[in-house]
Amino acid sequence: MRFFYLLVLAVTLTSSGLLAQPAPASKAKAAPAKKPRIVKMFMRDGLRFEPPRLVAEPGEQIVVEIENNDSTDQTHNFVLLRPGTRDAVVQAGLALAEKGPVLEYVPPSADVLVHSRLLAAEGSGSIAFTVPTTPGIYPYVCTFPGHGMIMYGALYAGVTPPPIEKDPNLPPMVAHGAVAGGGQRPFAQRIFMPDAGPAAVAIALVGSQNVCWDAGQCRLRYAWQGSFIDASENWAGNGKILPIVPTKPWWRALKDDFPLRFGAVDSAAPKVKFLGYAATTTGPVFHYRAGVTEVYEHVLPAAGRPGIALRLQIPRAPGLVFYRTAADPNAQWTSSAGTWRDGVLMLTPAQAADVTLTLTSALCTP
């Protein structure tokens, strides 16, 4: 049987002086060098590289396995450049004019460090190279005429990349697309989240607030203001890398502290069972059972104030309901009904049938 066709373009660019010297073949045989890292690169519909950026160590040996998966049958190449030369190389590529096809649209330029062949749709290729030893941000671009202004990305070598949605070295569309939900609000994304159980939900609320709601524990975990999660690394990998919460949460629930209690404030935390959620125009309405009691919990932005709100609906509360909040000097809890004492809201069954809790903080901005 056949092996997957792998076309390797092994390159060293010692002449450019930029790339590290690879070990001579004979030496490598005697003491096998660390296996090169394999990085996948896809060319996608809409003139996009996926992933839009790569992170590598200076001097690292990597192999970029490239697949042109553009379903619109566009032809692309992958050209890695010296820092800051993207515009110039794209222009030089255009200037090739009728000489372009022969050169596969790669301009002969010292700024071009390494490049793939021109890949037709469904084509694949691979380039092996040593990452430059000089730390820097090395652009990669497709030099096919008309593509280079949109279709590019960046290899960060020994330089820490900024949050993807703020990365000036990426096409604006890509930065936008890195945010889960593509900027939709409200939007709920089930995904692994930092500082929560593994069955987490990230929620972008209308406005600028975001929360992490834990579907394993059926409770709110934290809230942050600003951009929604960047899940690009999580999605580019096998799911192990946690999404980035771009700003520091302004509020966090305590660990292991389910807030609802039935009958008495110090009664044992009920066992919870997640039942799902309804998607609404104002945010998800979670549905769960706490003990035997069904609870609906609508997560939405706070009305008229910076912050978030939880509309709780407990249609058949068996008795008094208590909502416990953690001491937090910045957080302010208020509610549409019930009595607060020492950070605990007490609700009669009638009040618990429909009550809205609002959480604001001095750390929130309007």
Partner: protein, 514 residues
């Protein structure tokens, strides 16, 4: 899904600049496939990551597909347009139409029922049908299914965690105390050292490595079978027998296809701790003889890399003129190459066994073949890869001209009986034209297995039927417990064709009684 071994890539960093052509060339084998199968593709939704987790056909004839970033979208075959139905799911890896018209989707944390209650064409209810299973946050805990059995029950399968990663301190569900202590699993710094005691793949939270039976109406779940590692593919044959495949790795010398019975154990020991009758022994420490006695062996072994490295969806070929003569046979997808295989299982004196043979094997199919669905005369092929070998998007396959190759293969008291899709040419009775590599894969803890006790054998006698459509292949020394891996490239049809897929491997568990 599988940790793909990248070492097969013939890669070197040369000290001199070397260019190899990346130009598009069609390998000769693929050109031959193209004479028999039309391979194409359909678009995927714009702006949606094209890695596919699930495929289903809607009652109104649209195609439903689940994607890597959590969308479910519907494709209209008439307008060729996609419409997003649901979003924000966590790594959905299976779709099934619910009996009540809802759409069932298996995502990492739960089996979810999607409903559109207001009729606007977009899901507004994401109901947790079953979520009572453990999660440690380990990336390898993928969840597959659901498939529906002839009894109307749903079946889902849950992956083990990988020792390539730790667990998170906050987990969901009960932790089994059997084995390495839980705190050790948090210890990222010492994990390399600790991980060997964890087991290469581990299942310390509930139902990991298990097949679960779910009541579609109530969500009530019951343990159905144990002993799995990364069981992506589940399916039923026409008689209702339940087939589940698994991925080569620890305790998996090669990728197996099992016929699964309630209460059965299928070889990977990690999930034994979740059997209700388990008395607390660390399954990894059990003597191999004990495990061997407990387990049911694979019905069909898929020889690693030669046939499949990472098997996926299993479905039946429709019994229509378009797919004749293959109708009714089972096929299985494969992640690591552009290959779909046919499976030819049979029961011999109560023991399941059978053969595998390539069905469509072409680079034009890409790789990463994860989900399969027949709609009309077309086979839809949904592809994914994550960080492993694979492909993307949705491919299409149509049979245009039946190739010459083995159609069926059965064990006989003396050897095997083959049927072919076209009559054999004269000379097929020469035993030398039927060379066999005979070997088996070891059942043991290490990752994979060499082909063991490999010998080259040839039949003692071959008898071809008068019509040339079948052959009896006898061996002087027919031994059970071996894979008989035939290379039929020396055969030709009366039309002068050689087999499109000449390799066919039968896992002989039991020699039929005379």
């Amino acid at each position: 899904m599988n940790l793909v071994k990248l070492c097969s890539h013939m890669l070197a960093l040369f000290a001199v600049t070397a260019f190899a052509s990346a130009a598009e060339t069609t390998p000769p084998a693929d050109a031959r496939v193209a004479q028999h199968y039309a391979i194409g593709k359909i678009s995927t939704p714009p702006g949606v990551d094209p890695q596919l987790g699930g495929l289903a056909l809607l009652p109104d004839g649209r195609l439903a597909a689940a994607f890597h970033h959590g969308q479910v979208a519907f494709y209209d075959f008439k307008t060729l347009n996609w419409k997003i139905f649901a979003e924000g799911l966590h790594e959905p890896l299976g779709l099934l139409l619910g009996q009540d018209g809802s759409l069932l989707v298996m995502q990492r944390p739960e089996l979810t029922r999607l409903r559109d209650t207001d009729g606007d064409g977009v899901a507004d209810r994401y109901e947790a049908l079953w979520e009572d299973f453990g999660m440690t946050g380990n990336y390898h805990e993928f969840a597959f299914g659901p498939v529906r059995g002839p009894n109307g029950k749903l079946y889902v399968s849950l992956n083990l965690a990988s020792a390539g990663d730790t667990i998170r301190e906050e987990i969901r569900g009960e932790w089994s105390p059997i084995g390495l202590s839980r705190e050790k699993f948090y210890d990222v710094a010492d994990w390399k050292k600790n991980s060997t005691a964890a087991g290469r793949m581990y299942g310390r939270v509930k139902w990991r490595g298990c097949i679960m039976e779910i009541d579609e109406a109530t969500g009530a779940a019951e343990l159905f079978a144990t002993g799995f590692r990364s069981p992506d593919g589940m399916g039923f044959d026409a008689a209702g027998n339940f087939f589940v495949n698994d991925n080569q790795g620890d305790w998996r010398g090669t990728s197996p296809v099992h016929v699964v019975q309630r209460g059965g154990f299928y070889g990977h020991p990690a999930s034994l701790v979740w059997r209700p009758d388990w008395e607390g022994t660390e399954p990894l420490k059990l003597p191999i003889e004990k495990l061997n006695a407990l387990r049911t062996v694979a019905a069909i072994n898929l020889p690693h890399s030669f046939y499949a490295s990472s098997p996926t969806a299993m479905i039946l070929i429709p019994q229509t003129a378009a797919w004749s003569p293959f109708g009714g046979q089972m096929i299985v997808g494969e992640m690591n190459s552009g290959r779909v295989l046919r499976l030819l299982p049979e029961q011999v004196d109560g023991v399941w066994q059978g053969a595998c043979v390539s069905f469509v094997d072409s680079q034009a199919l890409r790789g990463g073949i994860h989900r399969l669905l027949f709609v009309g005369d077309t086979l839809y092929v949904g592809r994914t890869h994550l960080i492993w070998a694979g492909g993307e998007g949705i491919g299409t396959v149509k049979l245009t001209k039946t190739p010459f190759e083995a159609l069926t293969m059965h064990a006989t008291p003396d050897g095997f009986r083959f049927t072919f899709t076209a009559p054999l040419a004269a000379g097929a009775a020469e035993p030398a034209r039927w060379p066999v590599r005979r070997y088996y894969y070891k059942y043991h803890e290490p990752y994979g297995s060499p082909q063991t006790e490999l010998t080259q054998i040839t039949p003692s006698k071959v008898t071809v039927s008068a019509d040339g459509l079948s052959a009896e292949v006898a061996f002087a020394d027919l031994k059970p417990g071996f894979i008989y891996d035939f290379n039929l490239s020396g055969l030709t049809s009366k039309q002068g064709e050689s087999p499109l897929n000449p390799a066919i491997a039968y896992s002989l568990n039991k020699v039929p009684a005379k």
